[in-house]
């Protein structure tokens, strides 16, 4: 609602431009040079990976038998692997899988976390106890051993493999990363909703006859958006590393799909002949995760200056 300015103040001394929330956040974000750099790097790498089928010099599975474990050259900028496949092309295609897996797993984790945290906090009582105790239990589990057990048993499960074909490993890793990835968001949302539900706007909304569902999802959750967005950004980074670790151990993404981690799986066998083979995929992961962490840090400061440290 715009209130007409009283004529006495019709001066540009008091007239300020209207600034939207998004614009304010962007202004604060812009001041973070490392954050800007981070977002640019992620953007460029993500774009290159998405465009892989059009810009990659070769396909990810085309062997060049005359050039096995070749060193970087004009025709293969980053060399070739143990089957003579172009490393640069494989990196681009692998990025599609790695980024897709971490993005989808993060979004699913956020959805579950928001649901569990907000419902537990809003309704309280026995529901709260059950949901949050369960969250605590999940948090105190030794996660890597369980991730490995889940990945391995699901992979050996015949019907699943027959139904999903080559994409089995992608679906499995998204599933296991989601199962063990939602608890921190649940706690975060829980705390935030718990304090928001005592505020006047919630009471007003209830007095107007809004349903619990409506209050939770149009008032409480959107008001907790800042920490959720930050957790999401940083979560993508940690899931890229988690996916890579599982794939490195041979229990994540398996051929024919390449991922940054699976390109390093079994690489120890070749490190004497071509150490560069081990270098590039890991460097890519390091650069991407570092960029994400810089961007997440800047985003935290930009979204809510009070959250600092």
């Amino acid at each position: 609602m715009t209130v007409p300015m009283p004529p006495a103040f019709d001066d540009d001394v008091l007239a300020t431009e209207e600034v939207s929330q998004a614009r304010l956040v962007w202004r604060r974000f812009r001041r973070h040079r490392l954050g800007l750099l981070g977002i640019t790097v992620i953007g460029l790498i993500a774009l290159a990976c998405i465009l892989a089928p059009w810009i990659a010099p070769y396909t990810f599975d085309k062997p060049d038998t005359s050039n096995i474990m070749g060193t970087p050259s004009a025709s293969h900028w980053l060399g070739t692997d143990e089957l003579g496949r172009d490393v640069l092309s494989r990196l681009l295609y692998a990025g599609r899988i790695s980024l897709l897996v971490s993005l989808v797993a993060t979004l699913l984790s956020i959805m579950i976390g928001v649901l569990v945290g907000s419902i537990a906090a809003y309704f309280g009582g026995a529901l709260d106890t059950v949901l949050m105790r369960f969250t605590d239990i999940m948090l105190s589990l030794p996660s890597l051993p369980l991730l490995l057990i889940f990945s391995k048993t699901l992979r050996d499960f015949g019907p699943l493999r027959r139904a999903l074909g080559d994409n089995t490993s992608v679906v499995i890793i998204i599933t296991v990363l989601t199962i063990f990835g939602w608890m921190n968001v649940a706690r975060l949302v829980y705390g935030s909703v718990l304090s928001l539900k005592a505020r006047e706007f919630t009471e007003a909304s209830r007095a107007l006859g809004a349903s619990s569902f409506r209050i939770i999802f149009t008032h409480l959750v959107p008001n907790s958006a800042a920490p959720i967005i930050v957790a999401m950004t940083l979560g993508i980074g940690s899931r890229i590393i988690a996916e890579a670790s599982l794939s490195f151990l041979g229990l994540g993404i398996v051929p024919p799909n390449p991922s940054w981690g699976s390109m390093l799986s079994g690489v120890q066998a070749y490190m004497f002949r071509n150490p560069w083979l081990a270098f590039y995929p890991g460097l890519t992961i390091l650069i991407v995760v570092l960029a994400i962490n810089f961007a997440g840090d800047a985003l935290r400061d930009a979204l809510d200056p009070r959250l600092k440290n």
């Binding site: 048993t153 015949g158 890579a244 390093l264 081990a278 962490n293």
Partner: protein, 322 residues
């Protein structure tokens, strides 16, 4: 205090029971026992199926799941973890783990000490001189540490220090024939410990920094300064003693991460520990072994958390557990 301890022990026992049910369920509900991939040189599928059936009966795998779980639980409670299926066929899992446990605890313990020995001073420097060049350098370092895929860092160390420079041994815990050579043991430990410590140092130094920053703002710090206590002493005694308290809890919470890291690190450096044994068990579908090590790691986790809480009460008299 006693009531608190009893309640916590009971909670932990229930938690461990819960974990054992989940792990047992996942391992045995999904079809595909240790023999599914084998055909024993049988000429027909039916002959192979008969062999598998006979072996399953021998191992009791044809019994209903709850019955098998109960048998497993009652035996595990008295320390009988069953026989290994594939990693060391027919050997008791308990003895297998026993032979590797020491190496893993050595690795995890040294990494915990080493990472704290580095994180503590750099965290304090960061907090005492916030926004200085040192602080920025340390912040940059911790960002790198947190963004680094541990396994890749390990592989890179291996390539640089073993393959290219040849300074350090590429794997194992000892050189054959040098069992009592302490220098040889240390050389084998360097890379695994450094790799396992890296991520911890990054997280811990950030944590110590913010904890110390918080403490240095307190009134009692100003009081100590006003009384003329030298700045170094204020930081190291008044400040550190208070700032270190939350770190104790952090160490307890980091045990699962440390064990997860041990699985990866031991696999890279072929360190003969429990983590690598676990990975072998997973790769070869050795479920009794996998179950036992998972339970042991879960035990380490809940035990670590409980110890951290108790230690907290000992060092901080303000904490009272009821």
């Amino acid at each position: 205090m006693r009531a608190f301890l009893l309640r916590r022990l009971l909670q932990n026992a229930i938690l461990l029971l819960f974990i054992s049910v989940i792990v047992y369920g996942i391992l045995y509900l999904v079809p595909g026992g240790p023999f599914d991939q084998l055909n024993f040189g049988a000429t027909s599928a039916t002959a192979a199926a008969a062999q598998v059936k006979r072996l399953n009966e021998l191992l009791g795998l044809d019994r209903p799941l709850y019955e098998r779980y109960w048998t497993w639980l009652t035996k595990a409670l008295v320390g009988d973890w069953g026989m290994s299926w594939t990693v060391a066929f027919g050997q008791p899992v308990g003895r297998l783990i026993e032979s590797r446990l020491g190496n893993t605890l050595l690795l995890m313990g040294l990494s915990a000490v080493f990472s704290l020995a580095i994180a503590l001073p750099i965290g304090i420097i960061s907090a005492v001189r916030p926004y200085s060049v040192w602080d920025y350098l340390i912040t940059a370092f911790s960002f790198f540490g947190l963004s680094m895929p541990t396994f890749w860092f390990g592989v890179m160390m291996l390539i640089i220090f073993s393959v290219v420079l040849g300074w350090l041994p590429a794997g194992g815990a000892i050189t054959p024939g040098k069992a009592n050579d302490i220098v040889d043991r240390i050389l084998h430990l360097i890379m695994p410990v450094v790799v396992l410590s890296l991520v911890q140092v990054a997280g811990q130094s950030r944590f110590i920094r913010s904890s110390m920053l918080e403490v240095l703002k307190q009134d009692y710090i100003r009081t100590a300064r006003a009384k003329g206590v030298p700045w170094a002493r204020v930081v190291l005694t008044h400040g550190l003693r208070n700032a270190i308290l939350p770190v104790i809890t952090l160490l307890g919470l980091e045990i699962p991460q440390l064990f997860g890291g041990a699985i990866i690190t031991e696999t890279i450096f072929t360190w003969p520990g429990m983590g690598r044994l676990f990975f072998e068990g997973i790769s070869k579908n050795d479920w009794p072994l996998v179950q036992a090590i998972t339970m042991l790691s879960a035990f380490l986790v809940v035990g670590g958390n409980l110890l951290a809480d108790l230690a907290y009460a000992v060092v901080d008299p303000r904490i009272r557990y009821e």
